[in-house]
């Protein structure tokens, strides 16, 4: 396996899931300490020796030995999870038992369990996502704070509170099949949020954000690979994430400028993610469920399969947005629908659709609301009015790349006849 830019983070998450399983949720601090010790030792050694080919297996073995040390040291004084206690009662069964806890299938299940544990329904959404980032993506408090544009102290507090809530619930890591099904919806929401945070969050460090998108993709694939978790809704969410992530390389051009979907260089889109997404989308249609993920994935699928912006099936996209509005009504969805209407039936009709948005007041801080008005005015040949809208959008812009994008639009208006 070739180590990539984030393998240490990922290995740390896998180790943490395994060790939390072994030591119990109540002793997550011990699990964290053992992970940190294992990684630090590897870091110190591999700094010199280079990263070995079988780094993952080596880290697992090192962690296993540390677990055995902890067991030998604490066997008589501490209580472990019942099934673990039974396994380690006798010295001669201990090694093979611990060995079993580190088998690949066990590790994969541990990661899934960790995912479902982090998505405790009683926890707030942002706490769930913070826990996923910490426990499943191996991000530090500072890195999470960077992603959320939050202070490290605030993130720390949120995590401590969430961990306390987790430790308080007894059966976390022993989820039954019924818990699993009930909690799947919460897991979907958290992964959706994780991906959107990464894809849209304004201003945060770009590399952290792309990492968040990649992690959401990795975790949703983990769900797709699991018999019970791979429902039609899981596949729809996975399709949505694949098809949207496929556009990431086109979102920013060579000059570092933000590009709206219609101006993107489609040759830069990730073809293999698109075909994976389209396949998942087809599979997701097999069930009776129709969720917002299904509809959003279908919209993303139409964009991804269109050869060019002009050849997009705007009529179909408008109907999908109609469906989305009934499933998940929001002014942002209505705005996106209006933009699709403008492409389908012309800017005047798009303008009507924008004026008809209910609850448009909630868009007053959203820079792409005036920006959409600006685009339509420009297409209607009213450059001065368009410039006014783009200037209003510019005042609402949340980061430098948005500002640069909107400034460029203002200039385009001034150049228009």
């Amino acid at each position: 396996m070739q180590p990539d830019g984030a393998f240490f983070r990922r290995e740390s998450a896998r180790l943490l899931a395994a060790l939390t399983r072994i030591f119990g949720v109540k002793r997550s601090t011990l699990a964290e300490d053992v992970v940190q010790e294992t990684l630090t030792a590897a870091f110190e050694a591999w700094r010199w020796a280079g990263i070995p080919e079988h780094y993952s297996a080596l880290l697992m073995t090192a962690a296993k030995n540390r677990v055995l040390d902890v067991f030998r040291r604490e066997r008589t004084v501490r209580k472990f999870a019942p099934e673990v206690s039974r396994l380690i009662e006798e010295e001669w069964t201990m090694e093979p038992s611990v060995e079993e806890l580190f088998l690949p299938e066990a590790l994969r299940d541990d990661e899934l369990r960790m995912m479902f544990s982090c998505c405790q329904p009683r926890l707030k959404k942002d706490a769930q996502v913070a826990l996923i980032l910490k426990n499943l993506c191996g991000l530090s408090v500072e890195e999470i704070a960077g992603a959320f544009l939050d202070s490290p102290a605030a993130v720390e507090k949120r995590l401590t509170r969430a961990k306390k809530a987790l430790a308080g619930s007894r059966r976390l890591f022993e989820l039954t099949a019924a818990d699993f099904a009930a909690r799947l919806a919460t897991v979907h929401q958290a992964l959706y949020l994780l991906f959107n945070e990464g894809y849209h969050s304004a201003g945060a460090d770009a590399t952290v954000r792309i990492d968040m998108c990649r992690e959401a993709l990795r975790l949703v694939r983990l769900l797709v690979g699991h018999a019970t978790a791979a429902t039609s809704t899981t596949k729809a969410l996975a399709a949505l994430i694949c098809l949207t992530a496929a556009r990431l390389p086109g979102r920013v051009d060579e000059g570092g400028n933000l590009r709206a979907i219609l101006q993107q260089d489609r040759s830069r889109w990730d073809r293999s993610l698109i075909s994976e997404g389209l396949e998942l989308l087809a599979e997701s249609a097999s069930g009776v469920e129709l969720t917002a993920y299904h509809v959003e994935a279908a919209i993303a699928g139409l964009h991804a399969s269109a050869e060019s912006a002009d050849k997009t099936s705007w009529g179909e996209i408008v109907s999908l947005y109609d469906a989305l509005l009934t499933l998940r009504p929001s002014p942002v969805v209505a705005l996106n629908r209006a933009i699709a209407v403008a492409h389908h039936k012309g800017p005047a009709r798009g303008m009507d659709a924008i004026r008809a948005i209910r609850g448009a007041g909630r868009l007053s801080a959203y820079p792409f609301y005036p920006a959409a008005l600006g685009e339509l005015e420009l297409r209607l040949g009213r450059a001065a009015a368009a410039a006014g809208h783009f200037e209003a959008a510019l005042r609402l812009a949340r980061n430098e790349s948005e500002r640069r994008f909107l400034r460029e639009r203002v200039t385009a208006c001034q150049a228009a006849p």
């Binding site: 984030a6 940190q36 990263i51 191996g138 890195e143």
Partner: protein, 113 residues
């Protein structure tokens, strides 16, 4: 051509995030590769652990943390490097990623007749 020992001294990495560890690890790897490419590396030497060691002070076996007052001065590894003169060795040492990590390098000329 003379040979020098680089003694790397660095504070512990215990508070680093996994990503920071990986980034640093890869920068060290790249640095060693660079020394090797330039033909300056006689022996990349060995890394040393922060804990589990100490300085034995006397015949009675009195042990203290490090030769200096601060634990961050603990040797975390050594290498053997070839350079024309001390100045050349200094030039090589100054390209090490250790300086971004609050560490420093002690450069000593190997004694030869």
């Amino acid at each position: 051509m003379s040979e020098f020992v680089f003694l790397y001294r660095n504070p512990p990495a215990s508070s680093l995030s996994p990503q920071q560890m990986q980034d640093r690890m890869q920068r060290w790897n790249a640095w060693f590769d660079d020394l090797k490419r330039r033909g300056a590396l006689t022996d990349r030497g060995l890394p040393l652990q922060h804990d589990g060691g100490g300085v034995v002070r006397d015949k009675a076996g009195t042990v203290s943390d490090g030769p200096f007052a601060e634990t961050k001065d603990i040797v975390i590894g050594f290498s053997v490097v070839r350079a024309e003169r001390f100045e050349g060795a200094v030039a090589l040492a100054s390209t090490c990623p250790i300086y971004d990590q609050d560490g420093f390098i002690e450069v000593r000329l190997i004694a030869r007749l």
